[in-house]
């Protein structure tokens, strides 16, 4: 369980997260929607401890992330996939995937390699194991990014606008993989602008607006005329995104 209680994050005078409460239980797929600057990515960065919160608490499987030991354990539970891939440019696709397992989990090299190859095969990249990120297309890089997160066998997958840097065709490739993961029961917190896809795979939709949580509803309710759409801000956002 990821428990987010009244989290506040400020940059100077600018309040980016203004008392966000959210619970993510194992097996759920929760999509976070909202306009640019609404605090979606910051929320992810707070959960994996890249940003210090200015108030409230985040607890991942009982580990408080404001405590160094707790943060270390919480990070073992969460895998992150980044918007701009953030692959290590000096390592091959395979090495990108095995770095954390061998260094952090102390998985034997052989076993880590085998697991990484299996992950790459699952996303159709078994042939590209020895390629460096610069030799991969954007979609391929992001698939490696997903494998890298999965290699740590995380309980929760944090996805931060993972298709924003991709063209529609590559986006479709990556989304197909995420849909499969969702169907397999992977717990995901999915920050996205892909509304139709979010509607397809999510069990719940969360809507952030200027750092506040405007809605946290089961997917069908969120898109129902008397549910999320009844809120003018959400209706406005969705109609804009449709165009």
């Amino acid at each position: 369980m990821i428990e987010i209680d009244g989290v506040i994050k400020r940059y100077g005078a600018n309040t980016v997260l203004d008392g966000v409460d959210l619970r993510i239980a194992p097996g759920e797929v929760v999509s976070i929607l909202g306009a640019s600057g609404s605090g979606k990515s910051t929320l992810i960065r707070c959960i994996n401890g890249l940003e210090r919160t200015d108030g409230g608490a985040i607890v991942v499987d009982g580990h408080r992330i404001d405590d160094p030991k707790g943060l270390q354990r919480a990070r073992r539970c969460c895998g992150t996939v980044f918007q701009s891939f953030n692959l290590y440019p000096h390592l091959t696709a395979l090495q990108n995937i095995t770095l954390a397992p061998t260094e952090v989990l102390k998985t034997p090299r052989r076993q880590a390699d085998d697991e990484a190859r299996a992950l790459l095969a699952a996303v159709g990249l078994e042939e590209r194991a020895g390629a460096y990120p610069a030799q991969l297309s954007g979609g391929q890089r992001q698939r490696v990014g997903i494998c890298r997160a999965l290699a740590m066998k995380p309980r929760y997958l944090l996805l931060d606008e993972v298709t924003s840097a991709l063209d529609p065709e590559m986006t479709a490739d990556v989304l197909a993989i995420l849909a499969r993961l969702a169907a397999d029961g992977t717990t995901m917190l999915f920050v996205t602008h892909e509304i139709d896809f979010a509607r397809q795979i999510s069990s719940r939709i969360v809507f952030l607006d200027q750092g506040r949580l405007l809605a946290d509803l089961p997917t069908s309710e969120f898109f129902a005329p008397d549910g999320g759409l009844a809120q003018p801000r959400i209706a406005q956002f969705l109609s804009k995104m449709k165009k």
Partner: protein, 223 residues
């Protein structure tokens, strides 16, 4: 009237001088690389007191003539410490410090060239400081730094010629001795210059091979 003809002993003298120059260059490069990189790490980890201290020291060493530093170490240090210092020891200390100061600058910018997102990614995946340094920062910084380092090392080889003034019989000093005896400056200094040139080319060639290896990841091999 003394004999001004070249003998095969002259060649031995030149090669001995070359050996001293290359040996000092190699030793001071190794020490300078270790020191300069260490100083850069003090800065990277923002170690209190030590980080600003090495920054100040590097500034001093970079912004004063090596010859002045050499005189200070050779003539000044023994007075201050009340010990004797051989010319070779003085040369080792001075050139190592000077190389370290410039390596420090290169290492600092090389480390800073590694993107913030790389460090964040390593942190998110649970890598510790040392693991991040060793597996993520160092390889990328090395690939970035080896180019400027090549230029520095080629220059530092030429700088070793300054140690001849305190009596170290390096290649330049050997040339000066031969010059006085043979009275054939054009031949002697051409040969000496060529020997420096060949060693410099060797350094540049080795560095460029190293660079190709370190930058394997950014070489375009096509899809």
């Amino acid at each position: 009237m003394h004999d001004t003809g070249f003998t095969h002993h002259d060649l031995v003298l030149l090669l001995q001088g070359l050996g001293v120059s290359v040996g000092l260059f190699a030793a001071t490069t190794i020490i300078g690389l270790a020191l300069g990189t260490g100083w850069a790490l003090l800065r990277y980890y923002r170690v209190p007191l030590l980080a600003p201290a090495v920054a100040f020291l590097a500034e001093l060493l970079k912004n004063s003539p090596v010859l002045v530093q050499l005189f200070l170490v050779f003539f000044g240090l023994p007075v201050l410490l009340e010990t004797d210092l051989t010319p070779v020891e003085a040369a080792l200390i001075t050139l190592s410090g000077n190389t370290a100061a410039f390596v420090y600058v290169i290492a600092v910018s090389a480390i800073e060239s590694v993107g913030r997102e790389q460090l964040e990614t390593a942190r998110v995946f649970g890598l510790g400081r040392w693991q991040t340094l060793r597996r993520v920062v160092a390889p990328q910084a090395a690939a970035f730094g080896v180019g400027p380092l090549t230029g520095l090392l080629v220059n530092q080889l030429q700088v070793t010629s300054l140690i001849s003034v305190i009596g170290v019989v390096d290649l330049t000093k050997a040339g000066a001795i031969l010059n006085v005896r043979t009275l054939a400056p054009f031949v002697v200094w051409t040969v000496v210059g060529l020997l420096y040139y060949l060693v410099a080319r060797l350094i540049a060639w080795s560095c460029s091979r190293l660079e190709t290896r370190l930058r394997a990841h950014s070489q375009w091999k096509g899809l």
